[in-house]
Each structure stands twice: as C-alpha cells, then as structure tokens.
Symmetry: C2
Subunit: 206 residues, 2 copies
C-alpha cells in the first residue's frame, strides 16, 4: 500500500522531495529503501484521533516548500496519469488548496429534499447540476497559506478564507479503503484492470 504512492511521486519530475510521514521507525527504514525520505512523526500525533490538519502542520513547519501534496496510502486506485495531471494543475495555478472530488450528475436528495432536480420533471441526467464529493486521494496545500491559517487559529484543510479549487477525478479511482465494502470494491476494480491490461497485451501480439 505504501509503495504505490511513493512510486507515483518519485516518477513525477515536478516533485522535488518525497516524504513518508510516520511515527514508525521500522516503516521509516523500509520506505527509505524505496527511495523516499522518512519524516518521523511525533508519537503524540500518531493517535487514531490525530487529524490531517495536525500532522500536516507539524510536517510543514519542518520542511520549507511551495506546496505539500498529501497522497493517501489508502487510495490504491489512483492512476498515475490522474496524479500527474493533479500535480501539473497545482503547479500551473496559484491556489491555496486543491481538493480532489468526484463529480456526479445524478438526482440527489439532501435533508429529504431534491437538491439538483425537481420532482415534477425528469430531465436527462447529463443536464443535471453536478454534486461534488471530496475524496482524500490527494490534496495540495500551499505552505505559506497553511502555516498562516493554522497560526491564526483557522482551519486550512478546506481552503477557508483562501483560494480553493476542486480537481475532479474519475469515479473508479476514488475508493478510500475504510470499510470492508471499500476493500471489496477496490479489490474488484484492480482485478478487472489487471485483466483488461492482460487482454490488451495479448491483442498487441497479433
């Protein structure tokens, strides 16, 4: 699980440093062999209740940079091309925060009420307004914004009071391994992808 985001990051030439943020010395030694650097997270920030706000702040204080891009190791479905597009998007713009989202055009309810459709009429789903769900596959924060917000007692995670962008990624890359159901879905998608690739290779041999 940890190897995959390390490889994605090492292969992208726009990324100058690849760090793994963990409190675990054994894991630290392993990831150094994979070519990443080891940021030793303080033990008090390694609890189940630790937020990404807390550990990103501790990390950013220690490492001067323009942006940090957090890749979630529980997102094994993220494709290399999508990751590279995300990095380029961050580089070519000047946002304080870039969040990954899945954008869906489906009839949606919120608080029991239709959100993006009317009960009176059914319209083709391509004309529905999209609903965007944050996924944590990858997130970019500008260091200067993050430190300033945090030190003023504000939450930098979602781009509050800043310049925030949403970057849409394909639905089948967004699975965050949390529940057993997520595992099942991810496992299935990876198998299907592997088979599709196998098939293509076979056809190329003709």
């Amino acid at each position: 699980m940890i190897r995959y985001p390390i490889e994605l990051s090492l292969e992208n030439r726009n990324i100058s440093e690849v760090w793994v943020n963990t409190e675990d010395d054994r894991l630290g030694r392993v990831i150094v062999k994979m070519g990443a650097r080891f940021h030793k997270r303080p033990a008090e920030l390694a609890a189940d209740t630790t937020t990404n706000r807390e550990f990103a702040y501790e990390f950013l204080k220690a490492h001067p940079c323009d942006y940090v891009i957090m890749i979630n190791p529980t997102s094994p479905l993220l494709r290399k091309e999508t990751f590279n597009q995300f990095v380029s998007y961050v580089r070519e713009n000047d946002f304080d925060v870039v969040l990954s989202v899945i954008s869906e055009k489906e009839e949606t309810f919120f608080r029991g009420q239709p959100l993006n459709f009317k009960q009176q009429e059914k319209i083709n789903s391509q004309f529905l307004e999209p609903v965007e769900k944050i996924v944590w596959a990858m997130t970019a924060w500008k260091r200067s914004y993050f430190l300033k917000m945090q030190e003023e007692g504000n939450n930098p995670i979602f781009g509050y009071m800043g310049n925030m962008a949403r970057f849409s990624i394909p639905k089948d890359e967004a699975c965050d391994l949390d529940t057993e159901e997520d595992w099942r879905i991810a496992e299935g998608i990876l198998k299907a992808r592997a088979e599709n690739q196998g098939e293509k290779r076979y056809l190329n041999l003709e």
Copy 2:
C-alpha cells in the same frame, strides 16, 4: 443480464407476477422459458428517448395490481437480500413511490459551495449529514397513484405530490451499467465477490 432480475423476482413469494417489458419477440420467447411473462411493449415506446414514465404507464394500464416494482436489468450487483428487504418495505408501508438511494456521509459541494460541512471546521464524517443519490436498481410505484398522476399531466416518477420514501441500499450494489467505467467496476466487484465466496466454501470444508 435479464436472467438475474427474473430469478430474484420469481424467488420472492410476495411478488405475484413477474413480467419482462420489451418490444423484442425473440427476447420475449427466451424470458418465458425462464419463467417470466412477456409484456410486449409497443414499438413506439422502444426508442432510446423513451422514458420509464412512458413505458411504466403503458404497462400499468394493462395490468391491474397494487404496486409495480421495476428492476433495472443494468443493475447486476443488486443482492437478493437487499431486493427482498425492498419488497417487504414496500408491502409493509403505504407509500406511493419508493426510490432506491445510496446514502453517503462525505463532505460535498453543490454549486461550488459546501453543502453538508463548513470550511471552518473538519468534523468526523460519521457526524456529517448524508447526501442521498437516486439509483434505479429498483423502484416501486403504487398503480393507483401512478395512473392518477399521469392522467392529470403530472410526473409520477419521483413521487411528486405523493407519499414518497427513499430506500437506502449498499454502495457496492448500486452500479448502473452505463459507461465503460461502470462495466469495469461491476466486473471487478462481481469477481471479488465470487472469490470471497470461494474462500468461504473452502473454509467450510475444514
């Protein structure tokens, strides 16, 4: 694809008649062998632009019943237990329309604005208000409501002016085969399920 919803329906004792609604005579003969009945849909309602509102109305006029439950043949991931729960839910209540939804507690944007969260604070996702997305895996309409609405020029599909309920189904059962991406996901999930079942069978032999 068509065999699966027919089998689900035939195995449920609360369902008195199982019909396939198609304009295709060859398909009609095949599904009769599977134990379902063949509702011959008029050719003018077999276009790509035909809505479920149109063909459900034509069907319901022809078949007296309490409810029609439409199962989408492009939903191969729907589990038997979920389908049976849905049928019982329809029977034990008195709704005009029961829609299937996926309910998700994730930070969501609509029209570029946070919908169920505040940028100022990150809260545990279990405390987020859910966002519910309609899926067409299965839908129940009360016949009397549907005919009345349709004949008054109103849209019955979403329960407009009626008593509508949303029935939440697990995320991994909701895939509607529409895009290539959907195929990939469905294929993957079915493979993962099949493997998990294989594993269980093996363990049972011990």
